[in-house]
């Protein structure tokens, strides 16, 4: 089993307390940093470590810090509004090891010369919020936050804020709007947060897992961290494995580990539920394109997953087995995006509504032959046309599932029911397969 970095000792009792965290070496990185390093040293260290953002986009963390405009006041904002379907790593990190995050927040604030940091916790994560709140209190009590931290002369305030229940607030600019007390609407970019962010100040905004990684990098050095993972995707990631696997859960693995290991290895997923056939994988949360079962040997790193036609995203790996009707699965996801669209822009607001209406009728046996192409064209009118990436995200499950499983959609139109589990399906599949080949779509593996 490879070395764990972020989830090391995660299940150790008492880790969530200041005492327990310190017992296992907690806040030593902070003490070391404040004593031995200048802020820029830490920035260089993080740049060199190759750490990339764990929120979804995978942007190099050190580079992001480096873009921060020089004017004050500037802010750090930790995005803990984890809401991407299939993702539940930040929740665990906050619930079980809140001080690791706090230490990361302090280190990052020091590196970025920030004196006020915010932690925006998804409102529904009640326990995580309480844990963070308590940890902040403990840290203030121990002089780890506040004035003159550990006698270094460095001052920092850390403020926790609970979200009010909107997926869109995980988008960094909508998060900042929400934090400032307005509707969770994404902001126009540019200006980017590094130039104009919270309260008009330059703002560095990082994901919970990203910041939880910082203490280990500071403690063990950039080279040590960079020794994990692949050439361009360094380090480890917490993959959230869910769906039709025997052992769903959070597993920390070095980047570049094949999907097959995560899904089938006894240490991790332990194989498909009921030993069924694998049908599809969503590799990085519901906003990423579905991959077919043939991609199961793809290494889990940014480049390889992109080459396979999707994104590593938030690390939420959703496994779909053969008994799943793909139309129903896509309907469920489309409904989610319809309900979570903030409504600011036309294509996302109206498009997700229309898409859901079409899926509803497909699902309930009232679909039309033309609906499938209509779905694709509506997606084309949303993707790249919406104000923020939520619109694009909403189309990912649809376009990828139609590309991979068009015959299931056609079956729904013709028979008014799911192909999966239908007794007539097998014969129909042969027919549909022949047609699909004709249409240039990939035939289904049986």
């Amino acid at each position: 089993m490879p070395e764990l970095i972020i989830t090391k000792n995660i299940d150790a009792p008492g880790l969530d307390t200041l005492k327990g965290y310190r017992k296992r070496g907690g806040y030593k990185s902070l003490a070391k940093a404040l004593k031995e390093y200048q802020p820029d040293d830490i920035l260089e260290m993080v740049k060199k470590s190759g750490l990339r953002g764990r929120g979804g986009a995978g942007f190099p963390t050190g580079m992001k810090w480096g873009f921060l405009a020089k004017n004050q006041p500037r802010y750090l904002c930790c995005n803990c509004d984890e809401s991407e379907p299939g993702t539940f790593k930040d929740r665990m990190l906050m619930e079980k090891n809140p001080h690791q995050l706090i230490e990361g927040v302090i280190l990052t604030s020091y590196a970025c010369r920030v004196s006020v940091a915010f932690i925006y916790v998804r409102g529904e994560l009640a326990l995580a919020g309480r844990q963070i709140e308590r940890a902040i209190e403990e840290a203030y009590g121990a002089g780890l936050i506040g004035k003159n931290i550990l006698g270094s002369g460095y001052d920092l305030e850390v403020i926790m804020h609970r979200g009010a229940g909107a997926y869109i607030c995980g988008e960094e600019s909508a998060l900042m709007e929400s934090l400032e007390g307005r509707r969770g609407y994404p902001r126009l970019k540019p200006p980017f947060p590094a130039a104009v962010g919270l309260y008009g100040g330059p703002t560095v905004i990082n994901n919970c897992e990203t910041l939880s990684t910082i203490p280990a990098i500071v403690k063990n050095g950039a080279d040590w961290y960079a020794s994990f993972g692949t050439e361009k995707s360094k380090g480890t990631r917490v993959f959230c494995l869910s769906g039709h696997v025997k052992k769903p859960g959070n597993y920390e693995l070095p980047l570049g580990t094949p999907l097959r290991t995560l899904i089938y290895d006894e240490e991790y997923g332990g194989g498909i539920l009921d030993d069924k056939q694998l049908k599809a994988i969503i590799p990085g949360g519901s906003s990423t394109f579905m991959l077919g079962a043939d991609k199961v040997d793809t290494p889990l790193d940014f480049e390889a997953i992109a080459a396979a036609g999707s994104m590593l995203g938030s690390g939420g790996v959703v496994v779909i087995h053969e008994d799943t009707c793909i139309v129903g699965a896509a309907l469920r996801m489309t409904e989610f995006y319809r309900d979570e669209s903030c409504g600011k822009c036309t294509p996302c607001r109206e498009g997700t509504y229309w898409l859901t209406e079409i899926y509803e009728r497909l699902e309930h046996g009232r679909g039309k032959e033309s609906d499938i192409d209509l779905l694709m064209d509506i997606c084309d009118n949303i993707s790249g046309k919406s104000f923020c990436p939520l619109g694009d995200a909403a189309t990912s499950p649809i376009t990828s599932s139609i590309k991979l499983f068009r015959e299931e959609y056609e079956y729904h139109v013709r028979h008014g029911r799911c192909m999966v589990g239908d007794q007539h399906a097998q014969q129909e599949t042969l027919l549909a397969g022949a047609q699909s080949v004709h249409a240039g779509a990939p035939a289904k593996e049986m």
Binding site: A166, I168, R183, G184, L188, R338, D339, E340, S341, C342, G343, K344, C345, T346, P347, R349, E350, G351, T352, Y353, W354, E357, I358, R361, S370, L374, D380, N381, I382, G384, K385, S386, F387
Partner: protein
């Protein structure tokens, strides 16, 4: 702003048309310069870009992920923009199709039909049909959001112009977005009506028929309306309106954007306060009192009677037994001719109107006549805006928006008032006064600056005068209390140190007891602190009515001839005329002095009232003459910052009523003086020849947006 030099322009091409625009211009605006329509819904030039409707797509070479939105992208040098590529056209079709899936398409009964951006852009940019064949979203329609505005959520395309107007421009959050996603809708805060005085602007900027005005619903189709450019008659700001008329009835007023004055907005009073024009209560015939009753009479009979009675009174008591009270809402031409009739034909010096108290014709320190020294637009450049006993939200609403705009630009607002005002919540400081404390405020502000040697323009005479008033000032301080006094001292210091302070007070506040020196002291304060005659600084009264300043300019004052030329013998003031027993005849034009006195003097043997309605004063008159409103005649008016603007005849005059100036010409004729004015334009020409504030002006020059004039040498013809 200085004029852009040519080399400071950014050059780009749009559909192969070269365009040069100032830096920071949005691609949308640059395209408009090039004569290319890029359709927009959410964007409004007076508000920051939002980028929500996704209608204004263009393709810009070398930019990632085409298409881009033209309303959020600033131009850059060498940019190559295409507005009609296949990608762009498909994206626009896509957006329009999305907007229409839930739109009810109830165009036949929609007030917006015929002037609707959704109709027009669909015609020009949209798909011919829809692929949406499912049930549309339904709402109860329409629902009132206030007494004046109805909301149809089915028609709404959620462009958020109205809600952004509420948050960014009027800053009252009257309309807000509720819920999210496909359930999102426009609404008001729970249990609150959309009671903003600016609510009508949201109806005007709504690109579809979602917000409609109760006053206009189902009244007309847009193509039946005749549009006449005019000026609002409701307050001294003089906002530019387009009067929309159907069969000699005003249907609505729309903004006719004038950035120097109204910035493109109208208040609800200006937009909908035209009922009096269409009112059935209008006077349609002259009336003469017989046996105690006012009975209808022919015009000729009325003119004859007036001429006869006036000459009888002149013979018996002398012309100085006759007085005239003029109007602050009629045109310059009417006001000018009224005083000319009184002074030159009747021969009396008693001419006045209801106005604030200002010592002398001109301020003694600057020699300027009493008016705001800064322009409306300059308010935006001020660093400090000090409102003393002034409440623009109530009295000059569109100025309130300008002050808020200045505040967004960094200006600090100080409100000094007895009452609560709408601007209190935006003020860096609100100083609450006891009743009639405004005069004391001005005195303390001025004396603080003088005593603390913070004068930029030291004035020894002023210092000496204030020394004499020392006891008075101490009395003021005692009356206001130590806390308010300390706040005022701090404010005085702020004004002295300001990059640019604009000090404004309500004209009518000067009439309160203890406010005799208000105008003079505040003017002096501006002078000694250097807050006058430079951009972003100024002082002056906020006048009450549409032509309050014009009435002064025209010499409707007992001591001033037109152009503030001193009258040889000063006549009686407004208050004197209303109490003097020497006065035997009073001619009232467009005013209602009965409101200001318990009883008109018993000595009056003849009361002539010329008005549009039977006012309290008209009810007591011996002769009543029916006049026409601003909408039925041509003329000029002078607003609060001395913009001289043209009002244009929008309707045929109400049968039986006449323009004020026409009536004066007839009365003069009946008194043996022949005036050869064929139109109000000729009166304006005469004004321009004699009045240094109107020198060289003619009707054509007033154009669509008026002219802000300053005192200058009269160019005698």
């Amino acid at each position: 702003m200085p004029e852009e030099k040519k080399d400071e322009l950014v050059h780009l091409t749009i559909d192969d048309i070269p365009v040069a625009v100032p830096p920071g211009t949005l691609v949308w605006a640059a395209a408009r310069e090039a004569g290319i329509e890029v359709p927009i819904y959410c964007y409004h030039p007076k508000m920051p870009p939002l980028g929500a409707c996704r209608m204004c797509f263009v393709e810009i070479e070398k930019m990632p992920k085409p298409p881009q939105t033209a309303c959020t992208t600033p131009v850059s040098e060498g940019m190559i923009v295409h507005t009609k590529t296949e990608k762009v056209l498909k994206a626009r079709r896509g957006t329009l199709e999305f907007l229409l899936i839930n739109h009810p398409l109830d165009c036949p009964i929609c007030d917006k039909g015929g002037e609707c951006d959704l109709q027009d852009f669909t015609l020009r940019h949209g798909p011919g049909g829809t692929r949406f064949d499912q049930p549309k979203r339904h709402y109860q329609k329409p629902i009132p959001v206030s007494d004046r505005v109805m909301l149809d959520r089915e028609r709404c395309i959620l462009c958020q112009r109205c809600t952004r107007f509420s948050s960014e421009i009027s800053m009252d959050n009257g309309l807000v977005m509720i819920s999210r996603g496909y359930k999102m809708e426009v609404g008001t805060a729970p249990d609150h009506a959309f009671d903003s005085i600016f609510s009508g602007n949201t109806v005007e900027i709504c690109p579809v028929g979602a917000l409609t005005a109760t006053a206009y619903r189902f009244k007309a189709r847009p193509w039946e309306l005749k549009h006449i450019p005019s000026v609002c008659n409701n307050c001294s700001v003089g906002c530019n309106v387009r009067v929309d008329v159907r069969v000699d009835k005003i249907m609505r007023n729309m903004s006719r954007q004038n950035d120097a004055i109204d910035d493109g907005w109208l208040c609800d009073r200006g937009r909908w306060g035209f009922e009096y024009v269409n009112s059935p209560q209008r006077l349609r015939t002259p009336m003469i009192r017989r046996d105690g009753q006012l009975v209808a009479a022919a015009w000729e009979q009325a003119f004859y009677t007036i001429a006869l009675r006036l000459s009888e009174i002149t013979k018996k008591y002398g012309a100085s037994a006759i007085g005239g009270i003029g109007s602050t809402r009629t045109t310059n031409e009417d006001a000018y001719l009224f005083q000319k009739l009184l002074r030159q034909v009747i021969g009396t010096p008693h001419v006045d109107h209801h106005h604030g108290y200002f010592p002398g014709l001109r301020d003694s320190m600057t020699g300027k006549p009493w008016m705001m020294t800064n322009s409306i637009a300059e308010i935006e450049q001020a660093s400090h805006i000090v409102l003393i006993a002034a409440d623009p939200y109530q009295r000059q609403p569109i100025l309130d928006l300008r002050i808020k705009k200045a505040m967004k630009g960094g200006a600090k607002i100080y409100v000094v008032n007895v009452n609560e005002t709408e601007l209190d919540r935006f003020a860096v400081q609100k100083i609450t006064l006891p009743q009639q404390g405004a005069g004391a405020v001005a005195k303390i502000l001025l004396s603080t600056v003088v005593r603390q040697e913070e004068m930029k323009a030291p004035d020894e005479a002023l210092r000496a005068k204030l020394l004499q008033e020392d006891a008075l000032i101490r009395g003021h301080e005692e009356m206001l209390g130590s806390e308010v006094t300390a706040q005022l001292r701090e404010l005085a210091h702020e004004i002295a140190e300001a990059r640019g302070a604009i000090i404004l007070y309500d004209e009518m506040a000067t009439l309160e007891a203890g406010c005799e020196d208000l105008a003079a002291d505040l003017q002096a304060l501006a002078v000694v602190t250097g807050n006058i005659d430079r951009p972003g600084a100024g002082v002056g009264p906020l006048f009450e009515d549409a032509n309050s300043l014009g009435a002064r300019d025209m010499g409707l004052l007992p001591d001033a001839l037109p152009g503030y030329n001193p009258a040889e013998d000063a006549g009686m003031t407004y208050a004197e005329m209303l109490s003097s027993l020497q006065l035997k005849a009073l001619y009232v034009m467009g005013a209602n002095p009965a409101r200001h006195v318990e009883k008109l003097p018993d000595s009056l043997k003849l009361l002539i009232v010329q008005d549009i309605m039977l006012t309290e004063t008209a009810q007591q008159a011996d002769i009543v003459l029916p006049a026409v409103t601003f909408a039925e005649k041509d003329g000029s008016m002078t607003n609060i910052d001395h913009h001289v603007q043209a009002i244009r005849q929008a309707l045929r005059p109400l049968p039986g009523a006449k323009a004020d100036w026409e009536i004066f010409v007839e009365i003069a004729r009946h008194m043996g003086i022949k005036w050869n004015y064929a139109s109000s334009k000729e009166i304006l020409r005469e004004i321009a020849e004699e009045n240094p504030f109107y020198a060289g002006l003619d009707w054509e020059e007033l154009g669509a947006q008026g002219v802000r004039t300053q005192e200058q040498e009269v160019a005698r013809a």
